[in-house]
Amino acid sequence: MNERFDAIVVGAGPAGNAAAYTMASAGLKVLQIERGEYPGSKNVQGAILYSDALEKIIPDFRDDAPLERHIIEQRMWVLDDESFVGTHFRSDDYNKPPYNRYTIIRAQFDKWFSSKVREAGALLICETTVSELLVDGNRVVGVRCDREGGDIFADVVILADGVNSTLARKAGFHAEISPGNVALAVKEILFMPQEAIEARFNITEDEGVVIEAIGKITDGMMGTGFLYTNKDSLTIGIGCMLADFKGSPNRTSPYAVLERMKKHPAIAPMIAGGEMKEYCAHLIPEGGFYAVPRVFGDGWMIVGDSGGFVNSVHREGSNLAMTTGRLAAETAIAAKEAGKGFGAASLKAYKAALDESFVMKDLHKYRDMPDVFHRNNQFFTTYPELVNRAAKTMITVDGVDKKTKEREIFGDFRQKRSLVGLMGDAFKLWRAFR
């Protein structure tokens, strides 16, 4: 077949959809290829949708996107084995439209996003896997699909194929991803009547709550758990570094970690009676700033998870995916308008745009975070325990005076961790968050 496209987008997740939508809306001839049965069939996310990134692509998305609840309350919990210490932040400000964050169900959301992409004029082909990039010298000239007549050519190929990005690796643009740079997350969607959710979380109609949890639930591994309210279901999940699962002295499995979290006395009552609707596991690239590979070359750009664009500290991924997709698309549009081709010299504008955006700025800010947490598992074992014990000591009324209690708590910390260790941890955290 001799048909040529301006651009081929591999993958129909948030990154691929953002790229395809932006280019098709600008009149480019776009072919998008997705290996799943339909967009969203293979995708996993918590999922919190951050409005800003999508607004910049589809300003009136709220009119018809399948949104579950807007978030009005964020809870951060530190768990030991039987208790938790935490903060709740709830603000009526979050109840004023336009809302800033929503819970979504990815399968439905991706389908919606994809319908917009097709309305914009991109051609979507599902159930088709791109098996490799077609390369002429140094230049990517198209893709090879796993179907008869599967070689398709385009001026530029945008890789939005998610965390594994086998294509970039095969083409030699990426090194193999290391287990220390990816988290393995498992999650379940638990069906629950709307009224039960609203009563348990003290919310009404469209309001939603997010709980993020760290602590002993991860069995000493670096990771976090989460619990989100959907319309008539809850999403509960937990993720830990793949390297930690591999090295876990208890040979803890992802599934066991989730079960453990579900049984925690702070969590069990909130999910009681929930009927499991969906169970899935997925990788999250968490290498951060230093793990971002080269993101463009002659005739190609990488966007979304396949470029490692995830801010694991704030659990942001889909918004980085959409933003990188949009910026790559804008680069392609500009390259076409300028008529100077799609070589690396044109496409380097993509990297410049990334550096200017929150994407690279945030990744840079937290560049040392993954390493600090990964090398210091006391953040996931000793500290949660200490903090919870401290709270208990202070709050329990038992005739001991408060001064003595304070001393007891301090002694507790000192015993578990040397003064130097404590100061060192504080310093490391401060540096990583700075």
Partner: protein
């Protein structure tokens, strides 16, 4: 040769859940697919096209979203696709559906004579197996149900020979065309679409017919009005109240196991013991 294949878009029943509280079917988020039985009809039609040439036209009645199902059929190599879609068809049962489809097939016939009409054996959401026969009756076509193989098609003499699965064996039937075939499942294997066909399908402008385009004359025969079927109640299967009794057989001899089993049965159903005693040839 011209074949019309009727398909339906259905919710993927493997993914449907019954709401644990209200007992209603939860359709939200359940993907829509081509009724799997219809794909055997499509593949058989495509094989005939491979051997005899000609044209395969897809026909579907349904909401606008059913366009996707038709496009999917195009990707496997069907030539044309028509979606009969109109609010007036809403709420149709099998009687009203077969009326509407038969009427649409008459309109297709005006464009090009039809040799065969295919449908699937039944749908996975209704399981009635009535629409195919209904169409055949209305069009006065020979009806061939549960067809497992097409042995011969003689276009010149307008005859077809098929095998159909019947109770107790396989029937070999020969009849004249045009005829309507409902294809049995697992009788062929659907082909893998080529990339050019996938692209053609993604672009294919499915023809959309409203009730007038479909040649509907009698409005009282379509939609809810034309549907005498009433769904009086929907309920999930009730789990059995009584659990099966388990009889441990650890070290028992086969004879003891049999005796224990029969004893247990008689204890639960004394009438059974009486009955057997009466019949036993003493």
């Amino acid at each position: 040769m011209h074949i019309v294949v009727c398909i339906k878009q259905v919710p993927d029943s493997a993914q449907i859940r019954v709401h644990p509280v209200t007992n209603t079917i939860m359709r939200q988020g359940v993907p829509a697919i081509v009724n799997p039985y219809d794909l055997f009809a499509l593949e058989e039609a495509l094989r005939l096209k491979d051997s005899f040439g000609g044209k395969v036209t897809m026909l579907c009645m349904g909401p606008p979203q059913a366009e996707e199902a038709l496009k999917r059929c195009i990707s496997f190599g069907a030539d044309d696709a028509i979606l009969v879609t109109d609010r007036a068809f809403a709420g149709a049962d099998t009687l009203a559906t077969s009326y509407a489809l038969a009427s649409a097939i008459r309109q297709i016939e005006k464009e090009q004579a039809i040799d065969l009409v295919f449908t699937g054996k039944q749908t996975i959401d209704g399981d009635t197996a009535q629409v195919g026969p209904g169409i055949a009756k209305r069009l006065s076509m020979q009806l061939l149900t549960y067809v497992s193989r097409i042995a011969e098609l003689d276009l010149a003499n307008r005859t077809i020979t098929i095998e159909r699965r019947a109770e107790g064996g396989v029937q070999l039937l020969k009849t004249r065309t045009p005829s309507l075939i409902t294809m049995l499942e697992n009788t062929n294997e659907l082909r893998f679409a080529t990339m050019p066909d996938m692209i053609r399908a993604a672009r294919y402008p499915v023809r959309k017919w409203n009730k007038d385009d479909a040649g509907i004359e009698d409005l009282s025969k379509i939609g809810l009005k034309g549907s005498p079927t009433v769904v009086s109640k929907v309920f999930g299967p009730t789990p059995r109240a009584v659990k099966a009794e388990q009889i441990p057989v650890d070290k028992a001899t086969p004879r003891d196991i049999a005796v224990n089993l029969i004893q247990a049965m008689f204890t639960q159903h004394p009438a059974l013991e009486q009955d057997m005693l009466e019949r036993a040839p003493l």
